[in-house]
Symmetry: C2
Subunit: 444 residues, 2 copies
């Protein structure tokens, strides 16, 4: 097979760009830092949305929608928040042909505008907890951008909740962390994330505590896959989210916020992809089984259509490719690039013997299977490959996590994976030193 | 029952505002023309998205995502398009703390940026048709706004397709019109829309033909519920979407665009609502059955939980309300306001005789039903009420559609519904006259 992608070992960032282009996942948009997400890439995100949304609803939060534009003055009410976001704002100064009295910013995140409305909606302790989420686009002007990983506009969900007590807020921020994000990342994305807290330096602007989920990519680098923040009473004080307690007194609420974004698509690519392209975990894959006609011939089209229906009936997300005017080799390469977990190849020769070929993306195996046994074989392959992708990622992580005895050792080991070091042996001074050498303290 | 809403007959626009506030559907946002859609309103939109998205995928289009910001110069490439949208643009002039070299506009619609990418992706007739859709927020600066109906930022889907021939483009624009929009509006929204073409004056800026779906609201006024446009080769020429035909020659493609938006939520409210609030058609309703504990007592909580599970198992979207610390009357009024189709009321007295009460929102009936027969009764009620809402809307429309013999008669009749008049008897001059009297020609 001709080389389609730059090999990972040769140049990982280049491999990443190649996969995105060749699998037709995304392209740069015309305004700097913007991106066009093409159908193959967007279908992956839609599946992420569906799975995360289910879990958010199970955790009791309700979806809503807040405005894209926020009055500039809102951003200035919480001191750390304004400092954190001021350099990244896109500002609308003209609307309907006229200069605006007060400029509006495109939301970089929605704590402020949601805080304003929570203040109206929360009156008494009976209104708490208030558990809101929105799926939205946000914008943070970025100097250096990379598709999915760091783009000016990106898509995400942002959850925002208000609670009567600090304990309740903390418990909810952690519930989202574990029951929504960790569960989704481990069991659907097959990425064995490390879950922990961030250092004061790495916290979200305005948070009192930030929890993070870190995945290890196949270049030995960590990627932040999601975060959940305790905001203490910072936003509640800035936006006056107060309530009458059961004790008859006025109190400020305790708030949280939490989000995952299209950056997870980048994480998925880098955690599982190989030199032939994406490998999408079956539990996530928009196309789990790809029925592909190799060559026309007696009964081929009929059998393909029949297998397509059978697999659909078995609950498999399946796509049928009968484009025999395009060379089979090219279509097979495309299917590998896109990471479809299972390919069912039908040609007249095999079919004469009652067989088709099942090609599995994860281990690269090709096995002849009797037509009548395809549905069962596919379902089993999908389950097995979900597990083997996860186990391979876990083995890789374990092989790339070093228990360091000293800060120097940890910095050395972090060049190729995670290094585990007691915080007592690192501290803020150690963090300074590590940062200076391009190593960040990801997770406590 | 105390009066909660301004009656429709007294002041319809006021009734509309009251319902939106009291059912907690939406509120005005801080930047002029923006809106906050609250969980009850957003859940309705999510159900619309799910149903429309299914049908769009069945029609072969794929979802993608294009950028929020568009270079100002793009808007200027198609003459009618720039004229149509120039007065409504929100312009970003500052990004990342610096004045931008070229200002960017927030998309008012995405024909231009999608045209730019179609030009890259379409090379040969084999790449056609190219069938794309996106779910997105767009922004058109509006002077007078009304929640859901006319807001600066709104949510919608916009489909954009490119075809090899005019006939194919036309057929697809009509397929979307009928198989996606009309089917959804009639069979899910229970709104018997009138489907037709727009006059030249009312067309979309840049279209060669615009098809529309018009619903009749309970104040006798028509509401445009969706549109599908043939764009001819206007955008293909402006953005150079060309392809090598089977004939070996270069051709320009023929494009279409089509959309429905959160305005449909407004249409839903006004087509079915009554003086007690919303009436949501069961096929759409996010909550189809509302199990409500009237008063605690022996076995009440257990039976409520059991019915909740039974209904879920029967495929009914069900919500359980056990908040007996809030007066039952208030909770029942809220359920009416939100338009839940069926309410299952459980109290200790009825339950002693093995009964619960089924209250139906559409006809206002209340019937005692044996606990064991609830699931079946609910499923039947949902089906019957879907049909009766549709039939009532159709009867209303027919009672409010006059066959006019002259333009004067048509203008007169249009004060209270639709007037049907042969276009030959109206024409552009007649359209001028009707417009001057506040009557628009909706549909040919
Ligand atoms: Zn955990
Ligand atoms: Zn039709």
């Amino acid at each position: 097979m001709a080389r389609v992608l730059t090999p990972q070992a040769e140049d990982f960032p280049r491999w990443y760009q190649d996969v995105i282009a060749k699998a037709e996942l995304a392209e740069n948009g015309p305004v700097r830092g913007s991106q066009v997400i093409r159908p193959t890439g967007w279908a992956i995100w839609e599946r992420m949305v569906a799975e995360v949304d289910l879990r958010i609803k199970d955790a009791g939060a309700e979806n809503a929608s807040f405005p894209l534009l926020i009055p500039q003055s809102y951003l200035q009410r919480e001191a750390e928040h304004v400092e954190g976001f001021a350099p990244e704002l896109a500002v609308v100064t003209i609307g309907g042909g006229k200069e605006l009295d007060e400029p509006a910013v495109i939301r970089p995140t929605s704590e402020t505008v949601i805080g304003e409305f929570m203040a109206k909606w929360v009156q008494s302790y009976r209104d708490l907890p208030l558990l809101l989420n929105q799926w939205a686009n946000v914008l943070r002007w970025e100097k250096r951008t990379r598709l999915f990983l760091r783009s000016s506009e990106f898509h995400w969900q942002e959850g925002h909740t208000a609670h009567a007590t600090k304990d309740d807020a903390r418990a909810y921020a952690r519930r989202i962390l574990h029951d929504v994000y960790e569960d989704f990342m481990v069991n659907v994305l097959a990425i064995p994330v490390v879950v922990g807290r961030k250092t004061v330096r790495e916290r979200f602007a305005g948070a009192t505590d930030t929890y993070t989920l870190e995945g290890l990519m196949r270049d030995g680098k960590a990627l932040q896959m999601g975060t959940s923040h305790e905001l203490g009473q910072n936003f509640a004080k800035a936006f006056d989210i107060g309530f009458l307690g059961g004790d008859g007194q006025q109190h400020h609420a305790w708030t949280t916020s939490w989000g995952v974004s299209t950056r997870m698509v980048g994480g998925l690519i880098m955690a599982h992809g190989d030199d032939n392209g994406l490998r999408v975990p079956p539990a996530l894959a928009p196309v789990q089984a790809y029925v592909i006609v190799v060559k026309d011939g007696e009964g081929v089209a009929e059998t393909a259509a029949q297998l397509h229906e059978e697999l659909k009936a078995a609950g498999v997300r399946v796509k049928l490719d009968t484009r025999t005017d395009i060379p089979f080799g090219r279509r097979a390469v495309d299917a590998e690039l896109r990471g479809y977990p299972v390919r069912i190849e039908l040609g007249p020769r095999d079919l004469k013997e009652g067989n088709v070929t099942i090609a599995r993306r994860v281990d690269g195996s090709k096995t002849p299977v009797a037509v009548g046994a395809v549905a069962k074989a596919v379902v089993e392959a999908l389950e097995a490959d979900q597990k083997s992708l996860h186990d391979a990622a876990l083995a890789y992580r374990e092989a790339h996590t070093a228990d360091a005895a000293t800060l120097a050792e940890a910095i050395e080991a972090a060049g190729d994976g995670f290094a585990r070091l007691p915080w007592a042996d690192c501290g803020v001074e150690g963090e300074n030193e590590a940062n200076a050498k391009g190593v960040s303290v990801r997770c406590l």
